[in-house]
């Protein structure tokens, strides 16, 4: 099943608690993992990463030193069967994608996000695990983000297979997905031929690389990338995608997976179920998105 949520505040600033509350309302759609991607501003490049064994810490640091250096605190904290880190880096913007890919090459290391403006937090189990084990904060001035509660259907229950996903092709992009793809292996072969390293068997990871690949090729045009995804991906899906300046969605042509929208002067809310909106918008009627629809908002 899975549930997705997107939130954009047009004026208000502090919103991560509200996004988590939206997800809390659809916890029943996915008890296996949860995650959110928050867009804010940070002076340093921030790496969110997991390692499977503590020994990999040095390997991660030595790769970082090839591209730049660690600024300030670098501590790995344990949660479940992996170690997480939230590391501020001094690495130039043009080397970001390369560092992202290089870290993902190490077995047992998975980059969740590497960006000045995007932070991805994810954790196994219900949302309370996410908020109890991590300090969910986005830096300054965050007004939009996306979130996900996962029901693991096709791949392992693993924190790295939780959403949102980011890709070295376009590290500032995050996606969440509800649905299944029937051409996963075809997509994966194509993406691997472009140098992509898959960290999970989750089909949503393929979607994140595909959209990011399109954005890399078209100089960051999210709408065109989502249209490309709609044409190239088979199956039933709703994908929410966000960058520091845009948020958008693509819905499958069969119109099977649910996607609802409420937009007013204050905010844009996108979600899988009406109940998500109840805490922020009360009892209002949500618009249902059309099959095969792509829509993008500039923030």
């Amino acid at each position: 099943m899975c549930g997705i949520a997107g939130l954009v505040y047009k004026n208000t600033k502090h919103f991560s608690a509200d996004l988590l509350e939206m997800l809390q309302c659809i916890q029943h759609r996915g008890p296996d993992a949860s995650g959110i991607a928050l867009f804010g501003d940070s002076e340093d490049l921030v790496l969110r990463v997991t390692i499977k064994a503590k020994e990999l810490e040095n390997q991660v640091l030595s790769v970082i030193n090839e591209f730049g250096k660690v600024v300030g605190n670098c501590e790995f904290y344990a949660s479940g069967n992996v170690w997480f880190a939230d590391i501020a880096l001094d690495v130039s913007e043009d080397k970001k994608a390369q560092l992202h890919a290089r870290l993902n090459e190490i077995k047992g290391v998975t980059v969740h996000s590497l960006s000045r403006k995007l932070k991805i937090f994810k954790e196994n189990g219900p949302i309370t695990n996410l908020t109890n084990h991590h300090v969910v904060s986005s830096g300054n001035g965050a007004v939009h983000g996306i979130g996900h509660v996962r029901m693991a259907t096709e791949s392992a229950e693993d924190v790295n297979a939780a959403h949102p996903f980011s890709s070295p092709f376009f590290p500032d992009l995050a996606i969440v997905h509800n649905g299944q793809f029937t051409n996963y292996f075809k997509m994966r072969r194509f993406l691997e031929s472009k140098g992509c390293i898959f960290k999970t068997m989750n089909d949503s990871e393929a979607a994140s690389h595909l959209i990011a690949y399109a954005m890399k090729e078209n100089d960051g045009d999210l709408e065109a990338a989502l249209q490309f995804a709609l044409d190239e991906m088979d199956g039933i899906f709703c994908i929410l995608a966000a960058t520091p300046t845009q948020i958008g969605f693509v819905k499958d042509k069969l119109g099977v997976k649910p996607l609802l929208l409420i937009e007013d002067d204050e905010k844009i809310m996108i979600g899988s179920e009406q109940i998500e909106f109840s805490s922020l918008a009360g009892d209002s009627f949500a618009e249902e998105m059309e099959p095969g629809e792509v829509r993008v908002w500039n923030i």
Partner: protein, 244 residues
């Protein structure tokens, strides 16, 4: 009248509690604190008025046979799914696929509803007082769907039987395949007048048109027309059996 607090009862036991009360002959039951619980009032048989004081989740009152269920708030997807008889009254909005495959009974939605309302319905009546989303009455096999507000795209797509009543001025641009827009008969006007009076709906039956499947024979069937008369018995020569 009996009260049930859904907050302190497991979802799997709620319907059993309601049907046990009905077996004791209780005719009015109120369920409080539903908090969008799924599968409420599913498969209930008999005669009773069940009121739910807030919103419900998925599959509310599906397979209902007899009782009247009133939801004061909103209803989730597939409310009244496969309903056989009785009444389902939704005071506010409803999600997608309301009244899918119903065989009988009446569903009234006082608010708006999402896509696929009356999908594959085989009988009964669905009255939507607000707007209906896309693909309403798709593949319907009977019954009637009445929409007071606007309808979505591809309404009545591939209907076999049944009828959709609408007063949406733009409906002709939203028709699905294999259906046509028609005026309504005097009997149908009376049917609508009675329906609107019974459920307190302010609408004028004269303004309504009917969407009918092209299959009814009143218009040319567009998909397949067998030409049986072409077969000429006199000149028919069966294939000779081959002697071995």
């Amino acid at each position: 009248m009996e009260h049930i607090d859904a907050a302190i009862i497991e979802s799997s036991k709620l319907n059993l509690s309601i049907s046990n009360l009905m077996k004791q002959g209780i005719k009015e039951i109120t369920v409080k604190n539903a908090h969008s619980m799924h599968n409420m009032c599913v498969g209930l048989t008999g005669d009773a008025l069940i009121s739910i004081t807030d919103s419900t989740g998925l599959y509310t009152a599906s397979f209902l046979e007899g009782p009247k269920v009133v939801i004061e708030g909103n209803a989730g997807w597939y409310a009244g799914d496969d309903m056989m008889d009785g009444e389902l009254i939704i005071k506010n909005n409803a999600g997608c696929n309301v009244g899918a495959y119903i065989n009988g009974g009446t569903i009234v939605i006082y608010g708006s509803t999402g896509s696929r309302v009356g999908y594959g319905m085989k009988g009964g009546t669905i009255l939507v007082c607000g707007n209906a989303g896309r693909w309403a009455a798709q593949m319907a096999m009977g019954g009637s769907l009445v929409v007071i507000g606007t309808v979505g795209n591809l309404i009545g797509e591939s209907m076999y039987r049944g009828i959709v009543f609408t007063q949406d001025p733009d409906v002709s641009a939203k028709l699905g395949g294999n259906v046509f827009l028609d005026s309504i008969t005097e009997e149908e006007k009376t049917y609508l007048t009675d329906l609107f009076t019974k459920y307190g709906v302010d609408a004028d039956p004269v303004r309504f048109s009917a969407i009918r499947p092209a299959l009814t024979g009143r218009h040319k069937y567009v998909l397949f027309k067998p030409e049986l008369n072409k077969f000429d018995k006199k000149n028919y020569q069966p294939t000779k059996e081959v002697e071995v």
